[in-house]
């Protein structure tokens, strides 16, 4: 997936604009980790001198910031990737004191972006959160589910 393009052609960063107008500048190496969607767009644009802003209308700034943070921490992991990336995810969530619905939004975003690892880890964490619920009402309550 990562090509070694001639230096003059490939910019070293990528601009991503989320639906709240915020532009996130991201290293090219990191950008490749951000899933199939972005990679696909970048590939299409290959040959251009610089990228303008890649719009991500389905994602808001907060989510993007979190994902970028996670990718930065995870990209250098070599072994034990699954467990360590899960820990990192959890720590980041705790730091932000995130509510369960934040995790839901993260999962939606990562599915949209096509990020396999992130989705896997997020799903696992969400499953663990569900496991801790002692009955179905708690699940309803925590995750905003309407009963029917």
């Amino acid at each position: 997936m990562s090509t070694t393009p001639p230096e003059s052609k490939m910019p070293i960063f990528v601009n991503l604009q989320t639906n709240d107008g915020v532009v996130h500048t991201v290293d090219i190496r990191l950008a490749h980790q951000l899933g199939e969607t972005i990679c696909g767009i970048m590939r299409m644009e290959e040959g251009c001198y610089s990228f303008d802003i890649i719009p991500l209308p389905r994602i808001n700034g907060e989510i993007m910031a979190f994902i970028i943070k996670w990718c930065t921490l995870v990209q250098d992991l070599e072994d034990n990737v699954m467990t360590r990336s899960k820990e990192i995810f959890l720590n980041l969530l705790k730091k932000d004191m995130a509510q369960p619905h934040f995790l839901l939004q993260l999962l939606k975003a990562s599915d949209y972006l096509g990020m396999e690892n992130f989705t896997a880890v997020g799903a696992k964490l969400l499953a663990e959160a569900i496991n801790t619920c002692r009955n179905s009402e708690e699940i309803c309550y925590r995750f905003n589910v309407d009963r029917d």
Partner: protein
């Protein structure tokens, strides 16, 4: 395995409570004792059955095991008394002494009894055949099915014991005399035919206790149940070596009026049953609104957590009126949703179906059922057959029932792996239901584990043979009954087996031989404890002819394996694991071991426990040829000297485990040396060092 009869409560021999003393004479004494009991709360000493007081509630009683109902594995064999589960019966005999009390080795050589005959009988029970994680590291290791169902401290083995008198349990004491710390759960079987967990180990309990004998009596859950049957769960992953139990004591208050209490228990049983329905039956089945405890949103949820239970008495309406007029505003103020920006209403159901399915795939079965009760959408997702491709009811052995099987049968249309081990004890699962399940869902099964399943009868096994012809793994551990279950040809119908586990299960040799002939791809075979009737030499000859792809072979305590049989085994060139513990006895190995080591260069695990025919030359061969050896058990081998040990340590670079227990030639003075070498070569060396 001989199951001692379980005495039904109704038919009990109605042992009269201890001779009723004159109430008058006991008046002051009783009051005093009651007082003292409250102060000390428990164990009074030498542990005989003691009548501390008598009241209309019965008396306080301490009792030891009367009999063993079931166990998942043990170190010894039934007809011997060494290290068997039956050794927990009765009072402790070794406690508080600490150590491994060996059986009387059959040490009679041609020249008479050996000098080191021990006359002590082993009064300890080794409730499991394994210790540490060595078995998980061996080539024969298996993967758990639906591993997410397992609790953090999974149960590896268990023992079910019964006592004489019904009591309301206040204390359960387990006398551990060797390598304590394996007990992880204590269950009690009540009159309502339900199992209750009285105690469960937490992380902090796991810190390995001091290597000394101990009377382990953890704090039990408060309960009013009546029981005389206990199940103790063991987890050996942190053990250094085998654990041993000398006795189990059940303390509690007897009930003089069992019958009336039975009535009370029946009513509790009904409420238990409705709870179980909640686990089993999803809302849609009733084609109506979900279970009564499911309606409403955050406020009703909040009310429930506050245990707000409006009772509709005559003045119920007034009470409600009062609440609305006086307390409601207060309540709302306390629990109002925060003002300002409402949080974005992202709902779990906003996620795409595949993601939700993936999330649910990580859930254990119980949570999955719970999620299914949340809403219609979730019911549909949680019943998707992809979530039921692997099913394990082993961790739910205590609630597994025919109706649960029935419910699961509806969902498990893509079932590939099934584990019903330990289920159905005491009649909760019927053979009919199991056969129905199998007929509906068994034809695509690749892995089937039915260890210690009490509901299995002959027609169940027949069904397995007929329906499940795609099986590559079949595990029927601990199915030993008399007459043996496995004595009909339907199982020979299976032709794709790669793993066959018949640990502690009796079978007809003819059937086994025809199965071996039919399953040429067999890789793992476990025939440990298979009993006296099997001629192992024949089996070995068959293996050499038909099953040359064999990777692991466990013949622990197999009888009638001779040097000839061993020579047959040398034709299994793919062998990586071979357990010949207690086989061959004093028989000379000839050059069998040499041939084995030469022909099987991939050998990683070799257990020669108590194979006394092993000579010094054999040990030299091990050193010379055991390049890939990782686990080596030489327990009880007489000719070992510390020079040979050094040889092996130097020449087997991959060695991780070396068991030299009861090697009488290794002197006490050598133990320090061994400890040093253990450190130097990073090999875990087990010795019979007396501490």
């Amino acid at each position: 395995m001989s199951l001692l009869a379980y005495v039904e409560p109704g038919e009990s021999s109605d042992t009269e409570p201890e001779a009723e003393a004159e109430p008058d004479a006991l008046v002051d004494f009783t009051a005093m004792l009651r007082q003292r009991q409250r102060e000390y709360g428990g164990w009074f000493g030498c542990g005989s059955k003691m009548q501390a007081e008598q009241s209309d509630q019965g008396y306080y009683l301490e009792q030891y095991v009367l009999g063993v109902l079931d166990f998942s594995s043990q170190y010894g064999i039934d007809y011997s008394i060494s290290y068997t589960a039956a050794n927990v019966i009765g009072r402790p005999t070794k406690f508080p002494a600490y150590g491994d009390y060996p059986e009387t080795f059959p040490m009679v050589s041609r020249s008479g009894p050996c000098r080191t005959v021990r006359s002590e009988f082993p009064f300890n029970s080794r409730p499991q055949r394994t210790y540490g994680d060595w078995w998980q590291r061996a080539p024969s290791a298996t993967r758990e099915i639906q591993a997410q169902n397992l609790p953090k401290l999974a149960t590896h083995d268990y023992i079910v014991v019964y006592f004489e008198e019904f009591v309301v349990p206040t204390e359960v004491a387990i006398f551990e005399t060797f390598n304590p710390g394996a007990v992880v759960r204590i269950w009690a079987y009540g009159l309502t035919k339900h199992w209750t967990c009285l105690w469960e180990a937490t992380e902090s309990d796991l810190a390995r206790p001091a290597l000394d004998s101990r009377r382990f009596a953890p704090a039990l859950k408060k309960t009013t149940m009546i029981t005389k049957t206990l199940r103790i769960d063991f987890n050996h992953s942190r053990l250094n070596y085998y654990t041993e139990i000398d006795a189990i004591m059940l303390c509690g208050r007897t009930v003089s009026k069992t019958q009336s209490l039975l009535g009370r228990q029946q009513r509790t049983k009904q409420s238990h049953q409705s709870q179980r329905q909640a686990l089993v039956s999803p809302p849609a089945e009733a084609a109506g609104p979900p279970a009564p405890d499911g309606s409403g949103g955050p406020i009703s949820y909040k009310l429930r957590t506050l245990k707000f239970q409006p009772k509709c008495h005559e003045d119920g309406a007034t009470k409600l009126h009062d609440f609305i007029n006086n307390d409601l505003s207060q309540f709302l103020m306390e629990h109002s949703v925060e003002g300002g920006e409402p949080p974005p209403r992202v709902c779990l159901t906003d996620l795409p179906f595949e993601i939700l399915l993936r999330i649910l795939s990580y859930l254990d079965l119980k949570s999955l059922f719970r999620v299914g009760q949340v809403s219609r959408t979730f019911y549909d997702i949680s019943t998707h057959p992809l979530l039921y491709a692997e099913l394990s009811l082993k961790p739910y052995w205590h609630v597994a029932s025919s109706e649960l099987l029935c419910t699961l049968a509806r969902r498990a249309t893509m079932l590939r792996k099934l584990d019903l081990s330990w289920c159905g004890a005491l009649g909760n699962v019927s053979p009919t239901e199991f056969k129905k399940f199998l007929t509906q869902r068994g034809d695509n099964l690749t892995h089937l584990r039915l260890n210690s399943c009490k509901f299995l009868n002959a027609s169940c096994i027949e069904n397995v043979g007929i329906v499940c012809d795609n099986l590559i793994e079949l595990s029927l551990r601990n199915c030993a009954t008399d007459p043996p279950l496995l004595n009909f040809s339907c199982l020979a119908n299976l032709k794709n087996l790669e793993r066959l586990d018949l640990f502690q299960t009796a079978f007809e040799t003819e059937l086994l031989l025809s199965m071996l002939e039919g399953n040429r791809k067999l890789k793992h075979l476990n025939l440990a404890f298979c009993g006296v009737s099997v001629n192992m030499d024949n089996v070995a000859a068959h293996l050499a002819t038909y099953n040359t792809q064999l990777i692991s072979l466990d013949l622990w305590k197999a009888h009638f394996l001779s040097a000839r049989g061993l020579l047959s085994l040398t034709r299994l060139h793919q062998l990586e694991e071979l357990d010949l513990g207690w086989c061959l006895r004093e028989a000379s190995l000839g050059d069998g071991l040499f041939q084995l080591l030469s022909n099987c260069p991939n050998l990683k695990k070799l257990f020669l426990s108590a194979v006394r025919g092993t000579t010094e030359r054999d040990l030299m061969h091990i050193a010379a040829l055991g390049k890939n050896l990782e686990q080596l058990d030489l327990m009880g081998i007489l000719n070992i000297t510390h020079e040979r040990v050094y040889d092996i340590l130097v020449h087997c670079p991959k060695l991780q485990l070396l068991d030299l227990s009861f090697c009488d030639n290794i002197m006490d003075r050598d133990f320090d040396l061994l400890a040093e070498w253990s450190h130097q070569f990073t090999v875990d060396i087990k010795t019979s060092r007396r501490y």
